[in-house]
Amino acid sequence: MAFGLSEEQRLFDTSLRGLLAARVTQAARQAAAEAGREGAGDAALWAALTELGLPGLLLPEAAGGAGLGLADAALAAEALGYHAAPTPFLGSAVLAPLALLRLGDPAARAEWLPALAAGRMRVAFALGAIAGGTGPCTLRWDGERLSGEVAPLVEAAGATHALLALPAGGMALLALDAPGVALRPRPGLDRLRPLAALTLSEAPARRLPGDARPVLDAGRVVLAAETLGAARAMLDQAVAYAGQRRQFGRVIASFQGVKHVCAEMAAWLEPCQAFLRHAAAAQDAAPDAAPDTAPDTRDAEARMLACQIKAHADEVGRDVARHATEVHGGMGFTELLGLPFWFKRIAGNRQLLGGPERCREEAAMAQGLAA
């Protein structure tokens, strides 16, 4: 891989960005934010993305998927982040497919993969149990039933299913309309990624035994991609705004103070892209981790890269989000231009699946530098 895109990738990227530019308008974001408060998602956007094949991106062709890899998922996530798209891509198109492919038995795959590929399953997730989550997680098995509570459940609006990492190891997948399931929507900072608290009382659930960390790693890469896409959008908007806004008789883009802030953002952001693509490709190259075996070197490097790209994108993202907002002056603080949608997407992503400190410590562990 020479860090460029293949012709197929370029075409895919172009059509996805075209679709997003047309559909994810400021009004659409606003409407999705309102709907999210009621627990509903943007069904029309999801349907359009399904037509493009996004839900089945990572699934084998036999299951109705495209048989592509995480490099392609990261490319999509960059575009989704760039447009601050209100869509459950991470849970439904990345975490759930990978969890089933890596940890599911043939019956589970047969049951769910086609529904995932067809976009009929929308899967909320809670992985705090293995990612340093600060919310409650008391999930426990009672035979094939699951009880306890967990929060936050992420991408909860409009979700049909939930994917959960369990404190005792492994994961569980369950239908949210099953008996014993109580879902309480909670307003989230990023109103385009709605949250919920989930309480289970002997709810039927499918066991996905084994090491859930490769699923977590893939999620981290995709979150990093989204953050970097969103940060790029903020930089682009800041440069454009500075080129129009006049103060003291000049466009503010002509002041060194503003130029240098934009240059700093670009200097931090620009080198991230190749790192991201490499980290995503490394996930594709890493062998399936068999449960209870020590990961080999290649696997450890893929882990390290996933942790590091997440941590680095979180740090760069925060700086860019702050400074791009500052370049907009008061306008950046209002919702008039919609800039806070990107700001909050970046802020929220930082907290999901482990913040930078957590990811760096896991990166050190993957390299044998920490116990």
Binding site: T134, G188, L189, G329, G330, L336
Partner: protein, 404 residues
Amino acid sequence: MDLGLSERHRALQAAARDFIARFGHLSPPVGGGGGRKRPDRKALDWQALLIEHGFAARAVPRRYGGYGAEPDVFEAAIITEEFNRAGISLGIQGQGIRMLVPTLLEVGTEAQRERWIGPTIRGEVIWAQGYSEPEAGSDLAALRTQARLEDGQFIVNGQKIWTSSAHFADMMFLLCRTEPDRPKHLGISYLLLSMDSPGIEVRPLPTMTGHATFNEVFFTDVRVPADQIVLGRGEGWRVANVTLKHERMLLGDASKLMHRLHRLQALLAETRVEGRPLLASPVWRDRLMRLQGEVLAAKYHQMRLLGEAARGEESGLGLLVVKYYGSTLAWRLAALAVDALGEAGLVYDPHDDLAEDDAATAWYADWMYDLGLIIGGGSSNIQKNIIAERGLGMPREPKLQGGA
């Protein structure tokens, strides 16, 4: 440590502690009240009690309804510190009390003082500030809202933005252009107008915090009696600078930082990941300690500035750096809290009464609001220009060819 307090100041400190012990239970919740919504009965009663005991409107003369003490910046700092430490409300903090009252005391007419200071400090009259405009963010000289004098009344037309309490304020102090022919700064006047006047439209301005804090205000032929001008025509810039001086010497910035640091430390002690408090993790502790060092600098620096003000000395550079240093530090304190809250903290549920917000929402709201403060009232770039030019004596931006 109380290094440096005189006997008189120690006595005030003791009196404040005694007052808090006796009456603290009557305090409205901190964060609610002042600035975000109209004070309720409880807040008004508390305000009256504070004035009676000299913990609010302390240096406002008795004839205008204040407590009548000599102005003393240390006293104000001591009161702020004791109340903040105890988590007790310092009373109503709106822009009327913090900015307009000292301005009227310094440059208002006797009639203006008698009419407005009393009701304002009691919380009966709430003021909004009408400074910023969409096209004149950091550049006040560019403001466009106009007022022309007609039959003994100013007729105001234009638009203001960032007016924080316009949706419930009774009055506004307004900067507008009354002398269109004079050079930029010299054409501005400072008017006091009623928010009930016909022709005023207030639209809430949605911001990233989700709190209903700011507004846009539109003026269409709004009539203001000619005697409701402070100083005189074209003197608005001078009045605004008087107000600004009081804003700059405003207490509580370092106190706010100290208070936030304590909340942050408590948060790190409470928040557990895998059963272990974050404060027990060296990485988180080191981040906290680093911020503590920066907050300590702000704290003692403020005491130095207070001392200089008390001695009548010019603080120069020392005063000019306060806003930039304090606002970026406040943001970074909140940023560490936001990091500590982790995934669970992403639940964000803002209420119009800030006191009703849960802890995570409050931290996130602080974090975003502080970014607004870094931006507001002159961006970081403007602050750095001021520090470099006025504080360090570096040259001003050279004039452009052709100007603009």
